[in-house]
């Protein structure tokens, strides 16, 4: 990991940078985003820290994630965004030598309590990953995999597969070839297949870890539309390095940054602020947020 401050700008969108240091990204003013209701919190996170061995990747994060909204997590690379979101469904503990401190309440239940089964957690809190990762099976089998291994016995698997693919806005494109390999799909289609696969196990929350970073703008657009549709039924947390994306889709935005300590050797992610997306992009409460979204980071 480089300590050169110039490289910290990596994640700042190119368009923002070239447009001049003080220009803000354009914020769409659709009513969806302007009015953000105060729904019940789904996650209440207090003083969350995460360690890889002795290295502390994130420190003392406290925030709420509200239901049926899209919460975006933005920040420069190495600020612990992905580590943070992977704490929410206990994916991180699959990595040996890691440790969580602090508390995450999910509907008031401590997610890391002794009698909580991480497998049940992941069943209810689904995840979509950075790169589309379909199984080397047919489109149909990809969607049916989750319900099968989770012992869900739907009245008709065909209907469940169709419904999931419809919800992921993929059905019309694949209905004639669901028995074909998932690898025959384009990158954007594969990612929507992964969303369909996630929906098929009927989760309550969908975590998305930079779901569009490997996709072209058109495919990105499709996924963003899909997310806005899905929030009727799901709570969504999305990690993104693309500020416009956060501005376009999210209701609330959390800005993380990396604190460099120990002579620049350790970079620990901290939450700077969480607020309505519009406010974050127009009148951020913290100087560091302002610097980042205007591209004057560093």
């Amino acid at each position: 990991m480089s300590q050169n401050p110039l490289t910290l700008n990596h994640d700042v969108n190119d368009a923002t940078r070239s447009a001049g240091p003080t220009r803000r990204p354009e914020v769409p003013t659709s009513p969806d985003i302007a009015v953000v209701p105060d729904t019940d919190p789904v996650f209440q996170i207090s003083d969350l820290s995460f360690f890889y061995g002795a290295f502390r990747a994130i420190r003392d994060v406290s925030m709420d994630v509200r239901g049926n909204q899209i919460t975006a997590v933005i920040g420069p690379s190495g600020c612990g965004k992905s580590t943070f979101i992977r704490c929410l469904n206990r994916m991180n503990e699959l990595i040996p030598g890691t440790r969580v401190a602090g508390r995450i309440d999910y509907h008031g239940q401590d997610l890391y309590a002794d009698d909580v089964d991480p497998i049940e957690v992941r069943r209810r809190i689904g995840m979509v990953f950075q790169k589309p990762n379909p199984f080397p099976k047919s489109i149909y089998d990809n969607v049916a995999f989750g319900p099968k291994v989770n012992g869900l016995k739907p009245a008709s698997m065909d209907d469940l597969v169709e419904e999931s693919l419809r919800r992921a806005a993929l059905w019309d494109e694949v209905k004639d070839k669901v028995k074909k390999s998932a690898f025959s799909l384009s990158g954007g289609q594969q990612q929507r297949l992964c969303i369909a696969r996630c929906i098929a196990v009927k989760p309550e929350v969908i975590l998305m870890d930079e779901p569009c970073s490997a996709l072209d703008p058109l495919a990105t657009n499709r996924i963003e539309e899909l997310m806005i549709e899905l929030k009727q039924d799901y709570t969504i947390v999305i990690v993104t390095h693309n500020m416009q994306q956060a501005a376009r889709v999210s209701d609330r935005t959390a800005f993380f940054t990396a604190e460099v300590s120990d002579e620049g050797r350790e970079r620990t992610g901290v939450l700077v602020e969480l607020d309505r997306t519009e406010k974050i992009f127009t009148a951020p409460g913290d100087r560091r947020t302002e610097d980042y979204i205007t591209g004057r980071f560093g």
Binding site: G97, R122, P136, G146, N150, C198
Partner: protein
């Protein structure tokens, strides 16, 4: 390097011919070609003597005969039906798979999907040591431990012969265990983590991830490891010569003494088969049979390994 039309006379632009370098590359190429010569040598040696053998014993009789009874000494006669030897080799292969496959696969899945780094750090070297134990020592172990301290107490003194196929098969099973474990583990570790994450993210347990995601994705590598294991088992000589006996027999009783293709070769050369005798030539016919069987399996296994290497690159 392009040669300019008008080379300035400073000695850098012209391509120098380097005879020394050519000689060296030629020598290196010879080293590479030597491996082909080895194969040619094997084929010629086996085919030459085997042809003389088949001039005396019709190849059909050899391949379909059910009695293997080469006469020793000066009488140049005997029966040369190879089926009892093939039967012996197959018994050893099947029996060793019964031991090596479940243990090897369990080890591979455990190391690849379950084991913490510290346990891996212990088990991997143990497997390497096991793979490096000389076969003659494994044979000693079979004769001095597996038969008297394991098989006889469990199955009965009267039922289990001192030399028996089961002891040989277990010993060979221990030898192919590391082969199956290490190649299968390689194949499973080559399965991208993204696939595991996808399944874990849906609430799959480790068992489901291993059985439904990782193992299917690594299937060609696992198959290759099994085929290679069988090929090793068929080609293994000392452990079976020592522990499984030297009685060519068409049997399915694992507690009896048998003889494998390889054990026949080892037994015949340590005896006094005069060069030129049918018995001496039978050595090469049996060797050729062994070579063809193992070659076929190795080719298949190499194909499969290549497939899993390509799949995720």
């Amino acid at each position: 390097m392009a040669i300019p039309l008008q080379a300035p006379d400073i000695g850098i632009a012209r391509r120098r011919s380097r005879p020394g370098e050519r000689v060296i590359v030629g020598l290196l190429a010879l080293c590479g070609l030597l491996s082909v010569l080895v194969t040619v040598g094997i084929v010629l040696v086996l085919a030459g003597e085997a042809a003389r053998f088949f001039a005396k014993v019709p190849i059909v009789d050899f391949l379909t005969g059910t009695r293997w009874a080469p006469s020793g000494g000066r009488v140049d006669a005997g029966e040369f039906g190879v089926l009892p030897l093939i039967n012996g080799s197959l018994m050893i292969a099947a029996g060793s798979l019964l031991v090596g496959l479940p243990l090897g696969l369990a080890t591979a899945v455990y190391l690849s999907e379950y084991a913490p780094a510290r346990v891996r750090g212990i088990v991997k070297p143990v497997l390497e040591i096991l793979a490096g134990i000389p076969t003659v020592v494994v044979g000693f172990f079979a004769l001095n431990f597996i038969t008297p301290s394991l098989l006889r107490p469990v199955f009965g003194e009267g039922r289990v012969f001192i030399f028996n196929a089961a002891a040989g098969a277990i010993a060979v099973g221990l030898m192919i265990l590391p082969v199956i474990a290490s190649i299968s583990e390689d194949a499973m570790r080559a399965v991208p983590n993204a696939l595991r994450e996808a399944a874990f993210g849906m609430g799959a347990s480790r068992r489901v991830v291993a059985l439904r995601v990782v193992m299917p994705a690594a299937l060609s590598g696992i198959t290759a490891s099994v085929i290679l294991g069988v090929s090793r088992a068929v080609g293994e000589t000392m452990a079976v010569t020592i522990a499984a006996g030297n009685t060519p027999r068409l049997t399915t009783n694992f507690f009896e003494s048998i003889q494998t293709l390889t054990a026949y070769i080892a037994q015949t050369v340590s005896g006094e088969a005069a060069a030129g005798s049918t018995r001496y030539q039978s050595l090469f016919a049996v060797g050729a049979t062994l070579f063809v069987i193992t070659l076929g399996m190795n080719l298949l296994s190499i194909r499969l390994v290549r497939r899993f290497r390509q799949a995720y690159q």
